[in-house]
Subunit: 413 residues, 2 copies
Amino acid sequence: MKKLVGAAILGQSGGPTSVINASAAGVFLEALKQECITHVYGAKHGIKGILNEEFYDISKEDLKELELLKTTPSSMIGSVRYKLKDLAKDPSDYEKLLEVFKKYNIRYFFYNGGNDSMDTANKISKFFQDHDYECRVVGVPKTIDNDLYATDHCPGFGSAAKYVATTLMELYHDATVYDTKMCTIVEVMGRNAGWLTAAAQLAIEKGQGPDLMYLPEKVFDYDEFFEDIEKIINKKGKAIVVISEGVKDAEGKYIPEHFGNLFTDSFGHAQLGGAAEILAREVEKRFDIKVRGIEFSLMQRCAQHLASKVDVTEAYQAGVEAVKAAVNGATDVMIGFERVSNKPYKINYIHVPLHKVANTEKKVPLEWIKPHGKGMTQEYVEYVLPLIQGDCKAPLEDGLPRFAKLKKVLVKK
Amino acid sequence: MKKLVGAAILGQSGGPTSVINASAAGVFLEALKQECITHVYGAKHGIKGILNEEFYDISKEDLKELELLKTTPSSMIGSVRYKLKDLAKDPSDYEKLLEVFKKYNIRYFFYNGGNDSMDTANKISKFFQDHDYECRVVGVPKTIDNDLYATDHCPGFGSAAKYVATTLMELYHDATVYDTKMCTIVEVMGRNAGWLTAAAQLAIEKGQGPDLMYLPEKVFDYDEFFEDIEKIINKKGKAIVVISEGVKDAEGKYIPEHFGNLFTDSFGHAQLGGAAEILAREVEKRFDIKVRGIEFSLMQRCAQHLASKVDVTEAYQAGVEAVKAAVNGATDVMIGFERVSNKPYKINYIHVPLHKVANTEKKVPLEWIKPHGKGMTQEYVEYVLPLIQGDCKAPLEDGLPRFAKLKKVLVKK
C-alpha cells in the first residue's frame, strides 16, 4: 500500500478528563515519528480551530513538555462544544473544512472526544469522501461518563472512578465523625449513564462507602428514597447517599426540575443548581437533621493527582494506536478497547466504525444494579477494579504538580 | 520530680483534618511506651465520651493499625462539638468529669482540637486544680483554618493548603478549556481567617491560579468585585475567583447572610458555606455568561491522599511531644510550633499556655494581602511553601487507600 503523505491534525473536544492530554501525547509523539506525516498540528479549540485556521505547530514544542502532557489534566490545546451546521441546510462549515484541509494538505485527522465528537468526525469524513479528498479520520475515545458504544471502557473513566471511590472513602471518615444525626448527599457526573456513580461501590466494598446510591438507569422514586433515609438515620444516625446528576423520576424529570419552584421559594432568588444540594434541603426539611450536599463538580474530571496508571497508559496508547492505524490505511474508525482477561487484566486495541459510536449511549446493564439504591453487583466490581489500578501523577515541583507548558506557536495562515 | 502515675486519655474535638489521626498515633504510641502511664484510652467523641464514660482501650489495638492512623483522615475515635455547661450556672459537667477522672485514675488528659477545644481543656484543668485533683492537661493543636494563637502554624493546615493549591491548578486547566466566556468561583473554608484561601497564591505563582481572591481579613466590596469581574472577562474571557467562606461586607454580613438564613452551631459560630454558589448566580445574572460555583466542601479537610509529608510528620510529633511534656510535668499548655528557619525549614516544638490559645483567632497579617483581590505577597508564599512539601498518602490496596481499622474495645464501666 502506498503511504498517504501529508500533515496530521489533532482536535480535542467535549468536557475535559484527567487523561485527554495523555492521548494527545500519544498522537503527537507517534505522529512526529512517522515519515509520511509532514507536519503535526494541534487544533486550537477542536473543530473551531480548524474552521478558523488556528492551529499550533507541534514540532516547535520541546519533547520533554510533550511527555509531560501525559500527566497534565484537561485539554491543553483547548476544547470545544461546537455542532457543525446541518449539511443539508448549510454546507458552509463542511466546505470551509475541506478548503483548510486542502490548503495545508492535511491527510490525517484525529479527533479526541465522546459520541458527539465521533459523530462530527464521521460526518466530516463522509463529506471529504464525497468530494474525493483522501483523508484518514480516526477517533480517540474520551469521556469520564464511560458511555461510548462498542468499547469496553473509555479513557478518562478509570481516573474519575478512582477519584470517586477514594474521595468517598475519605468523606466516609469525615461524615461519620460526630455522634449527631447527619446525612451527606454527594452528586456525581455522568449524564444519562451511571458508570461513574457506580464506582461508589468500590468504597462500599471497603466498608467505607455510601448507604444508598442512585444511577440514572433506574427510575428515582422519591417516596422510597425518603423512607430509606429515615430507616438508615433511625438505625445508624448517619446516612451517606451518592446520586448521579442524571437520575430522573417516573415522569422523566431530573431532580432540579422536579424541585425547581420549591427550591427557589425557600432560598429567595438564590437559584442553587445541583441535585445533591436540592435533595439535601428536602431531607433537612423533612427530618430536621443536619444535611450536607456535596458536588464533586469539576474536580472529578480534572484531579490528575489521583489519575489511574492503567487509564493514563491506555489513553496514551490509544493516541499512538490511532496514528499507527491511520498511517496503515484505517479510516472512519475509533480506537476502542476489547477486554481479553481480567486476571491478569489485558486489553486489545480495536477499530470501531465511527458511525457505530456516533450519538449512541452505552448504559450500565440493569442486572448489575441492585434494587432500592443498594449498590452494584460483583460483575460491576470486577469490571471497574482493573481500571483504577496504579498511580500516575505529575512530577512535583515545590510540592505542586509540574504540568506541561506548551509554546503554542500558531501556524501562519 | 516524682512521676505522676495513672491513665492517659485522648479526645479529638472539632472539625476533622487529614492529620488529626496522625496526632492520635503520636499520643497513643508514645503513651503506650511510658511506664508511668498505666492505661491508654481514647475518648469516644471527645469530651462527651468522657462524660458518658465511653472510651476505647488503646492497648487492645494492633500496633500496625495505630501506625496506619498516621495516614487515615478525620477523627478515628469520633469528634464532638460540645460546649461544657457554664461552670458558674451549672457545675454538673465539671463534677461529672472529675468523678470519671478519679474513677479511672486518669492523670493525663490530651485534647486535640482548635481554640474552642483549648478553652474547654483549660477550664477543665482549672476546675481539677481547684478541687486538688492532679492531672496534666496538654493540648495538641489542630485546624485547617490555621487560626490558633501563639503557634507558627497548625497541624492540618499544610495538607489542606496543598489540596487548595493543587486542586486550583487542576481547575485552572479545566476552567479555561473553552473559548467561550466563563467565570468560576471557588469557595474555601477557614471561618474568619483567610490562611487557607490564601494558599491559592501558590497556584498563582505557577501561572495556574485564580484572577481574584478574597480573604475575610478585608472587607468585601460587591461593587469593586463586579467591576473587576467585568474587566477580567472583557480582557481574557475567563475569570477564576477564590473566596473564603468567611468574607463579610462593610456591614459585617457574610455573603449567605445577605441572601438568606445563616445558621449557627452549638458554639454560636456561623455555619458557613454557599457563598460561591450565591455569588455565581449573581455574576451570571449581571453578565449573562456561564458561571460555575464550586465548594471544596469536606474534601479540602479530608483529602488524605494529598496530605503534606511535613504536615503529617509534625502532627504526629506534636502528639509525641504532648505526652513527653506531660510526663515531664507540663500542664495547661498546648504544643506549638516555632519556626527557626525557612531554608532549610526547621521548627521547634514549644509549650504555649492554654489560656493564650483559648478563644482567640490569629488572622492573616493585613500587610500580606494585596489590595483589590490581587493575591498575597511573597511573605505569605515563604510562610506557606515549606508546609506543603512532600507526599504522605495511605498505602494502596486494590488501588484504594488502606486506612486504619481499629477494634474500638470499650472500657467496662
